[in-house]
């Protein structure tokens, strides 16, 4: 049985010019630096996030291709941010128990 590991594949080279990429670079982080494509079904419209308190947050999932390929997780994400009083710069870890089409992904807030 082959085991796939996608850990620490953080650095993906960009083929876009800097000028073209900058305005939309923030949209691409989950695609280019994260592993959401390996975690989730790109045709799915919903994902449940389980936080480190074992609470579940029902989120919309959008994979877009315009202007660049990107992924956006919304709806109850806003409530999650409010409930945990998350601020810019806080680190989170996202994980999935297996590669492929996960309905649930798991999240830890990293407190240093």
């Amino acid at each position: 049985m082959i085991h796939f590991s996608y850990k620490h594949h953080f650095f993906v080279s960009f083929s876009f010019t800097k000028r073209k990429l900058l305005p939309f670079r923030f949209l691409q982080i989950l695609i280019n630096m994260g592993n959401v494509v390996q975690m989730l079904d790109t045709s799915a419209t919903n994902v449940k996030i389980v936080d480190d308190c074992s609470n579940v947050w029902d989120c919309d999932l959008i994979f877009g291709t315009l202007p660049y390929e990107h992924c956006r997780i919304g709806r109850q994400w806003k409530r999650f941010v409010e409930a945990h009083r998350l601020r810019e710069g806080v680190k989170i870890r996202l994980g999935a128990p297996m590669a492929g089409m996960n309905d649930f992904i798991y999240l830890d807030v990293v407190y240093n």
Partner: protein
């Protein structure tokens, strides 16, 4: 004490509601049908009210599986309840949770684990939240 006060009215899930309407669903576990304790979802209360140094919790039974909750700090001063419109409603992940009490729990509660461990997962990555992530209602 929780079991002694509420006895057989305690189900496997309970919903705790504070004075501002915020609700916390928690998993209730029992060892040998006598010692009840709140497990999954309980940590959310600590984080939500910022009571890491400890607090007093008063639970008032209001119906099957439902409790009103009052909180005071260690010195019995009232804790400010965060106000949200609509009020927060924390639901627990019920994956792999059976609907009735688990009769085969270990007697030593310190050996029980109720949370995931991302380090054990096949895929994981870390992300620093941007201003967009925390103000626009979406993670990108």
């Amino acid at each position: 004490m929780f079991g002694g006060d509420f006895g057989d009215r305690i189900g496997h899930f309970a919903t705790l509601t504070d004075l501002k309407g915020n609700q916390f669903e928690v998993l209730v576990d029992s060892i040998n049908g006598g010692f009840f304790f709140l497990t999954k979802g309980w940590k959310a209360i600590r984080d939500f009210y910022g009571i890491s140094l400890g607090a007093w919790v008063t639970l008032i039974f209001v119906g099957v599986g439902r409790f009103d909750m009052k909180l005071t700090d260690r010195f019995h001063k009232t804790i400010n309840y965060p106000v949200f419109d609509p009020a927060m409603h924390f639901l627990i992940d019920k994956t792999n949770v059976q609907t009735t009490f688990n009769q085969h729990l270990q007697l030593k509660t310190s050996l029980l684990s109720y949370r995931h461990n991302i380090s054990d997962m096949i895929i994981d990555f870390e992300k620093k939240l941007s201003e967009y992530d925390v103000t626009k209602g979406a993670l990108v």
